[in-house]
Structures are given as C-alpha cells and as structure tokens.
Amino acid sequence: MNETLEKTEQIEQVIEKFRNVRGSITGLLQDIAGVYRYLPEEVLEQVSEELDLPLAKLYTLATFYKSFRLEPIGDHHVCVCIGTACHVNGAQKIVDVLERELHVNAGETTEDGQFTVETVNCLGACAMGPLITVDGEYHGKMDQNRMKKLLKKYQSTKRETV
C-alpha cells in the first residue's frame, strides 16, 4: 500500500517536471518506466489527461521503441544479447536454454512472475560474448551449462518484494 502511494507521488513529480520543461515525450515515457518498470495503462491515461497529450501519440511511441513494455515485468529481468558477435558465438543456444527451462518464449514473463526473458540487439560488450544481463548485472562468456547454473541460483533465492 505504501509502495503504491510512493509510486503515485513519483508520477506526480514526473508530470510536474514535464509541465515545467516540455522536453521529449520519449523522455517522459522513460521517466514513467523508471517508476513502474513498465508503462501501465492507467498511468498513460492519467498523463494524457493531465498534460493534454493525445493517448494515441503515447501509444505510438510506447509500441515503437523496444525498451518500453506494456505488461508488468517479472522479478528478474533476463536479457540475452543477440548482437552479431554474440550470435556467431552461440547466443541462440542461450536463448533456447532459457525458453526450455522457463517454459516461455523470448519477450514473455513466466507464469509465476519470477522471470521476464528478452533478447536485445546489442549491449556493446562484444568481446565478452555470449553475454546476458540479469537485472542489469552483466554475465559474460555464457554457455548452456553456466546459464542453467545461473538460473538455478536465482530460482533458489526469491527476490523480496515489499
């Protein structure tokens, strides 16, 4: 309950910031995503109303850019780099392991809400490939076995949500 209140306040601040300095709408969406880790429908409606921005415009941008999602993200965000260097070094096998072990397709969240698996087109750490990030933490030189072990580690320590 407290957390919801806190997030509502943060959104108020985001709206105020945009009202004062009418910057880029993409930046506005990034600030919203910074609070909720995704773009909730109600919040987009609220922002559209209060800042007099067409909802269609917000959705055009929200659905165009890869870094925005319209569904809540899981407790752990797993990103597999499928840039060319990682691809050539077997990144697809890492995606396959994740899809197999977690029973999801890339882009989806597991049923228990623990993991969201995504692919990303390049993280810019090509010498470390195949590369993944889990909650922003980089793990380089991945192979199928190491991926399985890393998953187990996260599965056995469930993240605490307040």
Partner: protein, 724 residues
Amino acid sequence: MKMTIEKLDNIRQQMKHVWNLREGKARARITVKMGPDVAETGSRDVVRAFLSLIRDSGVDDVVVTASGCNGECKDASTAVVEIEGKSPTTYRDLDEGKVRKIFEKEVLNGKSVPEYAAASYGGVSEAEPRYRMNLMLCAGTGCVSNNSLQLKEVLNREIDRQGLGDEVQVVLTGCNGFCAHGPILVVQPEGIFYQLLEEKDIPRLVEDHFLRGIPVHDYMFKSTEKELPIPLMNNISFFKKQRLVALANRGLLDPENVDEYIGRDGYRALVRTITSMSPEEVIEVVKSSGLRGRGGGGFPTGMKWEVCRNSSGQDKYIICNADEGDPGAFMDRSIVESDPHSVLEGMLIGAYAIGASNGFVYIRDEYPLALNRLSIAIEKAEEYGLLGKNILGTEFSFNVQINRGAGAFVCGEETSLIHSLEGENPEPRTKPPFPATSGYMGKPTNINNVETWATVPHILKNGAEWFANIGTEKSKGTKVFSVVGKVKNTGLVEVPMGITMREVVFNIGGGIPNDKQFKAVQIGGPSGGCLPEHLIDTPIDYESLTNAGAIMGSGGLIVMDEDTCMVEVARYFLSFTQDESCGKCPPCREGTRHMYNILAEITEGRGTEGDIELLEEMALLVKATAICGLGKTAPNPVLTTIRYFREEYEAHIKDKRCPARVCKPLITYNIIEDTCTGCHLCFKNCPTDAIVGEVKELHTILQEKCIKCGMCFDVCRFDAVRYG
C-alpha cells in the same frame, strides 16, 4: 569555478607530474633496489625519502621506482640514478642525508630543494600528494562486469596493509579495448600489463611487484599457453600496431576527472579555436584534414559543416549521434565511457564553426555507464564554464543536452533521430532537404558520430597536415574498429586507414582460435558486407571496401570461421533489419519480410530452385526504392554472401545440406560407437530424454526426440558426439 585561459594553463602545469608518471616521460629515473628483506634493508626508507623530496621540490619530471632484489646483499639501500643525456650512476648504502645530497646535485642540478620549490610553486609552498606508481585499473563496461570495481577495493586494502598508501595510487580509467582479457591493470610508469585478475591475485601482486619491485609473470599476457609472458603493454601485438587518435587517452585517464583531461592538453584546441580563429578558418582546417564521417557515411566532415554554416537562419543545432545500433560495434560506447570530454570539446569546436549555440547528444539507452560518465562530464564542464554562456570570456555560448534512445535501430538514421528528438514518430523522411539545411525543428542541423567529434580536437591541436599524413589519399586519418567474433584478441582497436584486413585480423587480432579456418569478415553490420579469404589483403579504406561490395560502416568487424554458415548469417541480418524496420515504406517493410522468409525456408531445408535469383532481384529492388539508409542497405549482407558464398546457398537448396553444420533442420547429432565410454553424462544433460543407454554401455540418440540443442556435444569429455 569558471575557467579562464590562465586557470586552464595552471591546471595543465599542476597535472604535468601526473602525465609524466603515466606516460613514463621522466627526465630523471631513480631505481631503488629493494634488497632481499625490504623491512631490514632500509630500502623502503630510501624510496620514501626520494618521494618526499620530489613532493617538496615540486619537480614534475622525475620518477622513482622499486626494483626487485637479485639475491646479493650488497644491493641493499642502493639506487641507480638515470638522468637524460648522462650515463646511469649507482649509489650504495644510502641514508636520508645522502639521498638529499644526490637529489639536489644530480636531479635539481645543484639547486637546493626549498629553492627549487619556490620556483615551482611561485613562492608559495604547496606540496601535493605525489605517487611513485599509478595503477591504471580498467573500469569500462567489460571489466566492470568482471568485477574490476571490487578489485579496486581489494587493491586499496592491500596497499594500505603494506603501508604503500602514500606511494601507490589506484586510478579507475575507461575502456582499454582488450575486453576479453579483463579485468586489466596497467602499472605506470613501467607500462607493465596485467590481465584476467581475480581478488585472490591481489595480495601477491601488491607484495611482490608494488612493494618488492618483482613483477608477477603469472598474471601477464601470453599469446598462447606455451609462449613466454609479455610484460610490456606496448609489446603485445594487439596494442603494438595500433595508432591512437580518437582513443589517445585510452586507459590513461580517469574519465570523471576533468583536470586530468585538461592536464593532457584537453580543451587547448578549444582555447585556440575560439580566441584566435574565425569559424571559416576552423572549417578550412577540418576540410584540409580530409576527415570523413566515422558513423558509416564517410561524408567529408568539413564540407558538411560548411553547408550548415552557410544555410540561412540564426538558430542552428549540432547533434552527436551516440545511438550506436550496429550489433557487434562498441566504439562509441568506449569513447564516451573513457574520454567524454573529447566528444564535448569536439562539439564545442563544431558549434563555434557552424554558428550553433545548442546541441544534443542522442545516446543509446543500453549504455548506462557511458550515459553516467557523459552526464558527469557535462556537469563538470558547466561548472568550469566550458559549457554555457560566454565561454572563456568570449562571445561564444553553447549548451548541450543528453537525450536517451529507447531501443530503435532506425534512430541511428539522422532524420529518424531528429524526429525522435522532436518527440515525433521516429520515422525517417526522404532527403533532400538534408539536415544541414533543414533539420531539428526545421533549422539547419549538423549531425556527426561520436568518433568524428572526438577526432576534431586532435586535428585542431596538431594541424590538418598532421592528420592528412596518416592514412591513404582519399581516406585520411585513423579508424576505430571493434574486432569481435571468431578471433583470439577480441577488442577495440584504432588503426591508420590503409592497413590491410589481414593485419587487423591476424596480427592485431591474433588470428582464429581453436585452429579453425578463417572464412570471412563482416564489416558494416546489417548494412554491410563480407570479405572472404581471397580478399583478405584488401586495404581498409572507404573506396576499396565499397569496390569489394562491403562498406566501412561504423566500425564493427565480425570475424567468421569454418563453423559459421553464411546463409544463416544472411538470415540473421534480415531478421534484425525486419525487426527494426519502422514500417513506413513498403519496399523495406514488405521487401525485407519476403527476403527473410525465403532465407528462413532455405535454412530449414525448404529452399527451391530459383530462390537465389529471386533474392537478388528483390534485393536490388529494395535498394533502389526504400526511403532511408536502413532499407537501402538491408539487402547488402544477402548480396555479398550470394556473391562470395553462392555454393553454400546451392548446397542448402539442392542437397539440403549445411556445409558449416549450423542449420539445425539439416544436421543430425550422433554418438560414435568406438569412442563412447558410457559415462552417462549426455544422458543426464539431455533436456528431451532423447538419449538412451546404460552406464558403461554405448549410448544412442533417438533422432525423433532430438532437438539439436548440442548439450551432449558440449558435455562429452571423450569427443564421442559428432554432428553434421
């Protein structure tokens, strides 16, 4: 505190000792032999005594280093003094008094310490902390992900424990470019390179090398296990052949410390530009240098600036395109992380030349560390008055703002980027008009890539002729490349234009790992093409690469070997461009989709006669009719792989065979009877229970259940699993 030209000069003077230490540029070098037992021999006191005199006198071109014992006790409290232009002299049985005498006589040329200090500090005694050793610890994304920040903590702890806190300083630097060998530590002034460091290595490193002066060979670079270690960074082939311009400060400075940048002649070009050159003169210098856009277009930078300057209108803008979307490329990430001020200085010079007072840096969201470093750099520059109004007391004002990308490859295209900045749908538009005449908000806008901006200060500092003397006739200067994929020394390199692909892949890159055969190198990312083996001696310059059917691109070089399927590579690139296509124009939206479908069918064993010709026809159509660079260049990987690897396409289509054994539907995994030991490991690891067999008996793969994941191949220790 706002800077003036004099204050900048002062900072440069104050930082001289740092740069002389880090570049090993010492007029005088004092090597103290540590003796077999450092605690007993008094060598530590000798080191400290010299260091203290260096501090007190303010001399900035003297280094003192510790050197290991050779077992003879007469080395105790011995120092070798080497002064430039004179033969080295050895002094034995030193104590504090003797050290002072030698220092004053030899190093200060007969002056006393207080006398020298007065001259150095302008009459005010201001002894600064001086170190005899700087540990340049890489804190680029690669090394940070390998825990280099934790290593810093452990290093500082050990250094304090050994009482070296006043002598040895740990400095976090930006990316060194040799990421696969991280965490990397370079010891200055010796120039010794350490790699793949772990926390458990630190105590030995600190005690043996930093305290006793005995470098640790176990942690040095070796090109293969059998070879001898190579202690000096400049002797490692990866670094030896590089020529650093845009990456000149790589691994040598703390990117979050603006004084260090100023100390290494940073913002000097800006001072010269805005105080003694006209904007037209600046543009002439850039034109004469021959600098061409480093983002991939290769358009002459000076000419672009001139068009923008001459466009009508008061309000002009400049943009730094840091939306490095090519997968496999991380040049821009590295430059922004390691040397953000070089980009800002370049933008300032460009803004002055063009007549712009506002600028943007559009940076990829996937680069959080680069974003952070750039934000800090802008903050510091603003604090120093190097950004903002009336810079350095002139009429010139310039402000810059950061905008984050949100994951769209097409935003690397300049009109799409501008639309994104404006808050519009980030779709490109036809050109003309070019941004130089009508760009951001319809105003004249000049967009350049990170590397282009970072190169500009060096050209203004050293002159157009200096830059034009590097490279070839039409491709001047240097280029930064990310050399990745199937290559031993993966990393970031800067080389002079005109170097051959062979030198980059085999000399600098070290060749192909695991004794595999080189097959091709992909240049230019999803817009580019591949060079096969028979073109490996192609010089790297704009024209030669275009003639070979490739492009320079932003600098990603993906090396491929015999285990890479070129048809699958084409499919992969098309899946990327299809995914990233904005959807605005049918040639790209529909054309790439149909090309992708054909390629997918071919890799799945359903290719038919005529597919290759159809792909070629579609490719040429899409190239001719798509609106923007993404669509126009998307067919390039298909065209070049067909040009150079047609036989692979034919094998897939006619024989339903993948010669590189990559395309899953065309390969089968088998266990070799003679080699299988029945260890049961494959059985335990198979995700679909497709392997049958009892312990110590031959195992077999049930083909109908096998999903070709390759786990059995990965885990087998007896090489009993084959695929093909």
